[in-house]
Symmetry: C2
Subunit: 767 residues, 2 copies
Amino acid sequence: MATIQDISASAAINILSVLGFLMGFAFLRLQPVNDRVYFAKWYRKGIRESPRSTGAVKNIVNLDWKTYVMFWTWMPAALRMPEPELTDHAGLDSVAYIRIYLLGLKIFVPIAILAFAVLVPVNWTGNTLDKNRDLTYSDIDKLSISNVPSGSLRFVAHVIMAYLFTFWTCYVLYKEYEIVTIKRVRFIAAEKRRPDQFTVLVRSIPPDTDESVSEHVEHFFCVNHPGHYLQHQVIYNANQLAMLVEELNSLRNWLTYYETCYQRNPKTRPTTKTGKWGLYGKTVDAIDFHKAEIERVLKEEAAEREKVMSDPKSIVPAAFVSFRSRWGAAVCAQTQQSRDPVLWVTEWAPEPRDVYWDNLAIPYVQLAVNRLIIAVAMFFLTFFFMIPIAFVQSLASIDGIERVFPFLKPVIEMDRLKPVIQGFLPGIALKIFMAVLPLILMAMSKIEGHTSLSTLDRRTAGKYHFFILVNVFFGSIVTGAAFQQLHKFINQSASEIPKTVGVAIPMKATFFITYIMVDGWSGIAVEVLRVVPLILFHLKNTFLVKTDKDREQATDPGCITFHITEPRAQLYFLLGLVYAAVTPLILPFIISYFAFSYTIYRHQIINVYDQKYETAAAFWPDVHRRIITGLMISQILLLGLLSTKTIGKSIPLILLILPVLTFWFHHFCKGRFESAFLKFPLQEATIKDTLERATDPKLNLKAYLQDAYVHPVFKGVDMEEPPTVEEEDKSSIVSTKRTTNRTSQSNSRSTSSSLRPEIVDESPPSV
Amino acid sequence: MATIQDISASAAINILSVLGFLMGFAFLRLQPVNDRVYFAKWYRKGIRESPRSTGAVKNIVNLDWKTYVMFWTWMPAALRMPEPELTDHAGLDSVAYIRIYLLGLKIFVPIAILAFAVLVPVNWTGNTLDKNRDLTYSDIDKLSISNVPSGSLRFVAHVIMAYLFTFWTCYVLYKEYEIVTIKRVRFIAAEKRRPDQFTVLVRSIPPDTDESVSEHVEHFFCVNHPGHYLQHQVIYNANQLAMLVEELNSLRNWLTYYETCYQRNPKTRPTTKTGKWGLYGKTVDAIDFHKAEIERVLKEEAAEREKVMSDPKSIVPAAFVSFRSRWGAAVCAQTQQSRDPVLWVTEWAPEPRDVYWDNLAIPYVQLAVNRLIIAVAMFFLTFFFMIPIAFVQSLASIDGIERVFPFLKPVIEMDRLKPVIQGFLPGIALKIFMAVLPLILMAMSKIEGHTSLSTLDRRTAGKYHFFILVNVFFGSIVTGAAFQQLHKFINQSASEIPKTVGVAIPMKATFFITYIMVDGWSGIAVEVLRVVPLILFHLKNTFLVKTDKDREQATDPGCITFHITEPRAQLYFLLGLVYAAVTPLILPFIISYFAFSYTIYRHQIINVYDQKYETAAAFWPDVHRRIITGLMISQILLLGLLSTKTIGKSIPLILLILPVLTFWFHHFCKGRFESAFLKFPLQEATIKDTLERATDPKLNLKAYLQDAYVHPVFKGVDMEEPPTVEEEDKSSIVSTKRTTNRTSQSNSRSTSSSLRPEIVDESPPSV
């Protein structure tokens, strides 16, 4: 068991490394060359321009010593922007996201004060560990519940505290849910006109022998929503086309790269190999080869575009249907249309940037089958992922590598490399797995058939949370791989499980303190540095960038990776709740994690991140539910722990009330607030409609919605960066070539009577 | 263990008693005096008249011997009416209800054939029990899985059969769900104009300082459903008034009774006591006393009526809002109205007969609290009901009674009575409890705050099903009271529970066979006799009936007691599924139960029952879900049983797939069909609206809906028998005084511009 000295040493090391990261960040962000990476959001908004071009800083390296002295100012600056302004600046998703960390502070600061005031003295004076001199223990354990003798009356304090902690947590959760709900309602009420307010996504349109999909949709909605239906937009299956467009972009980038190389070194023409990624095949002249390739793919793309536009089979049985008013759309999205509930399924259209186009065509039965498969796969991934990892690890011994790749033998056998590889190999398979896990989970969510990026993020977060819960939390407490735990749990009685886990909890406190420092603190510190985008930017800047427009595209502002960071934050909520009544010493570490995260993410949201979509905090019910889950786990584990330490059954029985009450609280909150996140009240719709009729009576809604929901490949813009909706409002500020280009394009198109993506065909992608 | 002889003897006794009941029924139903009891439905419909008044039969006792010879003809007659005609005659609820028993036949007949063809030979030739001569066993056990030696390969047959049974059950369930859904959709599409098609129940109307509830509702819906809102009906809290009206009816009945007594025996005037139920207090002249009492209550009622009408506090924050079209109502019922999801909560209005008026005023928070309380109470009722019963039983010994009621001592101590009381007492507390259990559960459902009788029935059925599952099914298999089982289960591992229960299952086969005969067969046979309504009818007929109208009211046609009979039928589904692969011998008994029930209920539905409401089979998703639950329980128990009997883990693992697939099947069906039972598709609404506009363009909807949703006490009709909606359509056939009376009343009222229940006040209740 680690002593206070061990923990202090570890904390010191971690604090130093975090400070190192922060110093590095402070230095890097002051260099003008990195300006676009660390202030990406402002560039994206068109408000900030390069310090060199404005003349503020002349040199490549910032030599102004004053700015270095003030390097820490970004922290208070990040905290200073008031929340309404932040909502305007970055959207409600971002604001609600950082409120998760704020919620952590709100929950745990009072709990920590209470725990240190009451539980620490109670535990410290328990004096059990002093008496049992044969046990190894540390001062940390003397602060924990382990120091209280079995059967002591002192446990009443822990029970009372458990009640107080639960009530406080529920109170804060309720208040926060209420605040976020009000913010959401206000945000939606204050939103500008957006195409998704008028639009509904219709899926599973039944085939009709006499009519095309488009005619069928029009007739159906003209009949069933008379007076409200405005127009619709059929959806083409352009997945193949999108892949070709992407290939084209990649080829053009490589061409630019080779041309730049040739310009800088005109003596030798660059060469490449014809195989995939230039790894194998015949060596040819790179510039000529890529030009030929571009020519070839351009033809393919044109053919595919022709095919998609002309072949009725490439129209998927789904459509975006727009209404004359928000009221009409709200009605259609919330009601059932057809006698058969799996036909004409309607839901709110995601905003255009948020649409996940690949999944729009999946029929109901296949969806159900896919979800079954993914649920089973998720079960096996969570509980049995160690089996393939262990297999790879056994292969990943030096002998294994030499067997599979004999040609590597001379390299590996080098005296210096061998010990490094030996020490490094066993862990690497697991590390790689953990790194790609979010990608795997995201792929699984995609198979489930969700139609928007935001839903994909939320579902992936749910899966990741489950994985972390089983493999990090329970996996660390009950040693052994997850499937061994599962086996143990199945063969153990329902009342024994909480006991087994509960008893192990106090012993793992030091492990989790270290985990919080290494994974939590340092993870956040690394986030602020943005190493990968920084390197990528400089690489692109050197080899690809020719114009200002290129440079703008070379910066990847990134966004909140909700599906990765939220489940991780949930682990700290869980740890805090579980250890609050057991080993309160862990709480300061968790509080500093939340405070640090809050500051960093606030800074990143203000200066860097550019969200891909805006859902007005639609993820909050998930966050709320997961914290409630953590609270219930903590209650049951405390129950298990205390039932082994107390005499009689009264204390466990008193604690049994807590999970029941918490579960009820969850249902109460669900009924009270959740529908604000799922439905759009007609009252709001009416208010917005009335307001709009008053302020803008001559609005041509048809023209406005004309091509809001066209697949991005038909819009002639980069696939990775779907058009932002507010472009019209911003075009006065940002006047790059691309935006004007796009605006004029959409204007020209809106004059044509029906949507004709062929028009896009005539002007090839401008990227 | 019971032998085949024992079972045969028991079966013979039960069959004889069932035949006795049927003979009794055949005799009684042919007596003209009982005609109104056994053909209540036809009288209610006005199609049948008393055989004596029509002159078909002259005598009080039927002396026509031919009718006795043909006594069994009611059975084929009951089966003969085709289903569409039956739907017209009795409604879809009734038709769907008897389809539950038909579903039982569809599931179990093929399963029984397969089981007898494959499993019985496999088990019979297992020869384990012959070898273990020290075990007591019977021929029945030789037919069961117990006869197969442990580790035998024969278990493969059971596993294959379990798969086949599951697939067959799921197939039949799917088909049946589909049929019922189609029937429901067609039924709703074919329905005549009904007030509830245009009406939505709005609850939790927020208080407004400036406006009355009525104005507030009108303004809200005028703004948020412009062009669709028609009118609304505020709801008065008339619970107190309804109680007074009921008391008045009761007093009037007693007055009639005493007057009849006096007429028949003019020598002595009847007397009564002034206390409750005439049990204690001063002895007075009964006729004068009741006349005075009626006078008093009439005054109270008038005062209360005055108070309800004038006091704004007696208007509850709920209203029935009607729309100009079904489309408008469908939209309002399915959408969220207000920013705050717990205000302006809308749902389809139940049909007027179906409204449970007492619960309309409960606010959201209280609802949530009530549901928590009821959930906890339900848990304790299910698992700990034996504790008070055991307490009462201990009191109910002869000594106990003598202690509590010493004055009874001389009676009890009589030599003849003592042994009877001793044998009778211990069981009686449990019997009484089981008899009143449905009432207790119904009271609990009422506290939960559901707004319609049909929902109350469905929720009560759910609770009763859970109780039967725990206390009858598991309680019979695992001996000991439910809370002891619960304790055992909590302290047993998750994999041990199915083993413990599974192993006990084959041993309980004979018990359940007897149970099916005693509870199932005889229970149904008693149902057809209608003993209680028969006696009540004759009592009322003798003492209360003066006019034809009174006689009509004296008949209680009854209705399907869904909340009692459906959970009981579910037990037989469960038993059939559990024993299909274990002891197939039980299947013929279950099949005969379903066949018998099907015939009897079909007969009752045709001739007797008069449903209180019509929900178009809204209960089917519950039925489906409970059968699926039974199927999953059967799979898990078979898994537990086989894992103790087979070597290795392959067979249990193969069986583990079944519950997963079944669960997925449940979700699939839910998504596929359930919304047809919850929502009303706009397509249907449009079709019906269009049709109506074409056929009846001059319809005055406002007049039609004027007083559809007035509390029955304001309608001036008997509380226990709310007005049927189809009265207008039927008034040509039935021309009793009451109906004309009511129709003219409603006509006179519909001419007034707004609903004025005071009008009702002027004409006192006509009953």
